[in-house]
């Protein structure tokens, strides 16, 4: 009878024992696979946290003659590690005309001075999205009519309510923005919206006329580019804020950016803003360490338990071993038979474990998902006494957390599981194999 047959027959004959072993190995393999899939899921969660902490860097190219050209912006955005979220900004001044070229009136009340040449001019703010501009986010500006500017082209402006009233402008009207120094360089723009300020300007009496809230105009980047650099058909910008996925990589990305051609980086100022991340960094690493600790503890103890269990199992077969040896079967083939039995069962267990752990991972994944959907947004509503300042959370474009058994993890568990089974069986069999058949059989069972 060859050893393969013997191994099969044994496994079939001792159904109960085989089943116990199968259950044991299955549970172990499932545990390991689930652990590994949870670990990779927490890595995604951690990356999401890092991304949500919004690390970014700002390029200040104000001193450059031509700002940051469009090509460079797209080159930066194509770089590895950028989250795709960015804001481009330009600031300049413009003289305001109506559609027929007549000067428009600005507010001068409360101005510290009206600088020469700026009698009909004001500050022009261009932003990728006017709603994201600090005037709107921090300064209390609000749209009262029309739509914010969200495109880079389109020749649109947003004007202050009072400015619109003073000059009889309404949404849809056309006005001209003129270069302050070269009055012939004008560009026609459409009034896309009207805003107002909800907080008083605290620098009244200090600010020159063009900085007064009433005299500010928001426009798109290409219009600002025309006013600043005289460009047509292409958009150069003064400032760019670029958000990254992993704030740890900020330094690397900023160095890479400065190696791009076409811009005199020496004259630019690059500033990193990752304070939120730096504050949370240590605690976050702690959290990640805890996950790692959990996985490490589970793995080590799993292996330990598996080795012990296989040893326990083999010790119950001392008598049997003695009989085999007495029958003249070589030690090698007896050992091989034992190994074969374990490997056979382990293979089945590992195959099934893929199914079970996938099912469990799926369950965990869907419980995470339902948690997200049931998390309705609560604003702090304290009987109207406090302002509900919170807006629904921004869409940060975070990666969806996927709890799944990856092929690598599966292969890893296969490899480790098999090695461990073989090693612990061999190790457990060693003391028995050392004995003579006679001394084995004379032992009391």
């Amino acid at each position: 009878m060859n050893l393969c047959k013997r191994a099969c027959l044994y496994s079939v004959r001792k159904k109960g024992k085989t089943l116990t072993l199968l259950a044991f190995l299955l549970v172990m393999a499932t545990l390991m696979l689930t652990c590994l899939s949870i670990q990779s899921a927490t890595e995604t969660a951690n990356a999401n946290i890092k991304k949500a902490l919004l690390g970014y860097f700002t390029i200040n190219a104000k001193t450059l003659e031509n700002g940051i050209p469009e090509d460079t912006v797209s080159q930066i955005l194509a770089m590895d590690g950028l989250s795709g979220r960015y804001t481009l900004r330009s600031y300049t001044y413009a003289t305001y005309f109506d559609a027929d070229g007549n000067l428009l009136e600005i507010n001068t009340e409360g101005a510290a001075q009206v600088p020469e040449g700026y009698e009909n001019a004001g500050r022009v703010v261009a932003n990728s999205n006017s709603q994201e501009d600090s005037y709107f986010t921090d300064g209390g500006f609000e749209m009262v009519e029309g739509n914010p500017i969200t495109t880079e082209t389109g020749s649109q402006v947003l004007v202050h309510e009072k400015f619109a009233q003073r000059n009889g402008l309404s949404v849809g009207d056309t006005m001209l923005l003129g270069n302050v120094e070269d009055k012939d360089k004008t560009i026609p723009v459409t009034v896309a919206g009207i805003f107002t300020n909800t907080e008083e300007q605290d620098s009244i009496g200090m600010a020159p006329s063009y900085d007064l809230y009433d005299n500010i105009v928001f426009t798109d980047l290409s219009t600002a580019s025309f006013l600043l650099y005289g460009t047509e058909g292409t958009t150069n910008v003064q400032y760019g804020d670029f958000y990254v996925n992993d704030p740890d990589e900020l330094e690397r990305i900023m160095t890479d950016v400065q190696e791009l051609d076409g811009v005199d980086w020496e004259s630019c100022t690059l500033t990193r803003y990752d304070n939120d991340y730096q504050n949370a960094k240590e605690s976050l690493e702690g959290l990640q360490n805890i996950v790692f600790i959990a996985i490490a503890v589970v793995s080590v103890i799993c292996f330990l338990v598996l080795a012990l269990f296989l040893t326990l199992r083999l010790r119950g077969r001392v008598h049997e071993t003695g009989v085999y040896l007495a029958m003249g079967i070589s030690k090698g083939s007896v050992l091989l038979q034992y190994l074969l039995e374990v490997i056979l069962v382990a293979a089945i267990a590992l195959v099934i474990s893929f199914g079970t752990s996938t099912a469990i991972s799926h369950q965990i994944g869907s419980s995470l998902l339902s948690q997200v959907t049931s998390e309705t947004y609560e604003t702090v509503d304290l009987t109207g006494e406090s302002e509900a300042a919170q807006e629904p959370t921004e869409d940060l474009d975070l990666a969806e957390i996927e709890v799944a058994v990856s092929a690598e993890d599966y292969a890893l568990v296969w490899a480790f599981g098999m090695v461990l089974c073989v090693a612990s069986t061999a190790l457990a069999a060693y003391p028995i194999m050392k004995m003579k058949p006679k001394s084995i059989l004379s032992q009391m069972s």
Binding site: T20, M28, G139
Partner: protein
């Protein structure tokens, strides 16, 4: 021979087997105990992460309910008492308020300090480390200490200002705000120097009051000193109009605000509260995902451990079928046989459980040295141990009972007739 002695004798005779079962129990119990400790540590760590998000609320005077005299609001300012009262509420990590003055500053020789444009922009501050400019990372303290609320006449200045004027920590400066209005001169000691990190040339600013001053001209002085600077000016246009409170746990922000709002000595008609926890809101879902994942992991570990214990015990009992038959054949009652098995198992558990407690503490200690701060939170508490010991004990007894059912149903003859 009573069953107690039999149980002990069996365990001692089959010491190798006993040792194996013991090791298994020890390993599994250590696993569960460490798991519980890790779950707790994760909770604490997540709380710490939430604490670093700088969740805060602002208490400010409500201009809309106050009067207006044409130039400025006549709404009442925040009193020091009120600010301290709110700061004393549980869950508040720190606070600050600002009282802005634009003083001229002189060194101890009476010479005005060299500075950039205009005058100095001076923030009177309780705890400057909680000032927006420092929290946002735009300024960074590089020498000395921050202003704290127990300081009386202290000031922190920018590195540029210190360099231009040869100033260092410990020097004394004199500030005066409106000499023509007979405000007093206030002596202040430099306690710290900060670096300007932010790019002031970025035109993103909104041309509010502060933006016309160079960052190097920004100074922070203790609130007492700032109040000293405006003393005697008499006008009611100056005072503290806003205070900022930072909470230890962003998840508790709402509760803290509610508690603040229940302080009855404050007339809340004149003040409003604004919550600010944008950073926390951004990360909260990802953070709670991590929490859920770890909790699930621990649950899986615990469940698997239970299954393992049952499997091991049933295997060890099943391999003793023959012995059971013999014991029954010599006339020992079935309950006594089962009780013996239970006793043997419990005997092992009594040693294994406390040892697991110690070993898991050891594991936690080792992790502490390996991973530093994070792992220090992994602490196995006596409560964990109690839980594991009780549930584990019940589980062991149940497992032994269940696995002996199949054998116990048979007659001794049938058992012994079975092939081993």
């Amino acid at each position: 021979m009573n069953l107690g002695i039999r149980a002990i004798l069996y365990s001692a005779r089959k010491w190798k087997k006993t040792l194996l079962v013991f090791c298994l129990l020890l390993a599994i119990t250590t696993l569960v105990l460490s798991g519980l400790a890790i779950a707790d540590a994760q909770e604490e760590q997540a709380e710490e992460v939430r604490g670093t998000t700088g969740a805060s609320f602002t208490v400010e005077r409500d201009i809309s309910t106050g009067g207006w005299n044409g130039n400025y609001s006549t709404q009442e300012f925040m009193s020091e008492d009120m600010i301290q009262q709110i700061a004393a509420v549980d869950g508040i990590a720190g606070y600050d308020a600002t009282l802005i003055t634009l003083p001229r500053i002189f060194n101890d020789k009476g010479e005005e300090l060299a500075h950039e444009n205009y005058s100095f922009y001076n923030y009177g501050s309780y705890n400057s480390q909680y000032h927006e400019l420092f929290l946002s990372g735009r300024f960074e303290l590089v020498e000395g200490t921050h202003i704290t609320d127990d300081m009386t006449n202290s000031i922190i200045i920018s590195r540029e200002l210190a360099e231009w004027n040869g100033l260092k920590v410990g020097d004394t400066l004199t500030g005066v705000y409106y000499p023509e209005n007979n405000t007093p001169e206030v002596d202040m000691e430099i306690v710290g120097i900060f670096d300007v990190v932010a790019d002031k040339n970025d035109q993103v600013n909104m041309y509010d009051d502060a933006s016309y001053y160079a960052y190097s001209s920004y100074v922070f002085c203790s609130m007492d000193a700032a109040e000293g600077l405006i003393k005697g000016w008499g006008e009611d246009g100056e005072g503290i109009s806003e205070a900022y409170y930072y909470v230890t746990d962003a998840a508790q922000l709402e509760n803290v605000i509610q508690e603040v709002q229940s302080i009855s000595s404050i007339n809340w008609n004149n003040y409003k509260i604004t919550a600010n926890d944008e950073v926390y809101q951004n990360i909260s879902s990802a953070l709670s995902d991590t929490g859920t994942l770890i909790t699930t992991l621990i649950i899986v570990i615990t469940a698997v451990s239970m299954v393992l214990i049952i499997l091991i015990l049933s295997m060890s009992i099943r391999s003793r079928k023959r012995e059971t038959g013999i014991l029954l054949a010599v006339g020992i009652a079935k309950p006594a046989v089962i009780l013996q098995y239970v006793l043997e198992t419990l005997l092992i558990a009594v040693v294994a459980f406390p040892l697991a407690y110690l070993s898991s503490k050891q594991v936690a200690g080792t992790l502490g040295t390996l991973f530093g701060k994070a792992a220090e939170n992994v602490i196995v508490t006596p409560e964990h141990f109690m839980l594991v010991a009780i549930v584990g004990g019940i589980l062991l007894v149940a497992a032994v009972l269940v696995s002996s059912i199949s054998t116990m149903r048979l007659k001794p003859k049938q058992i012994l007739a079975q092939m081993e």
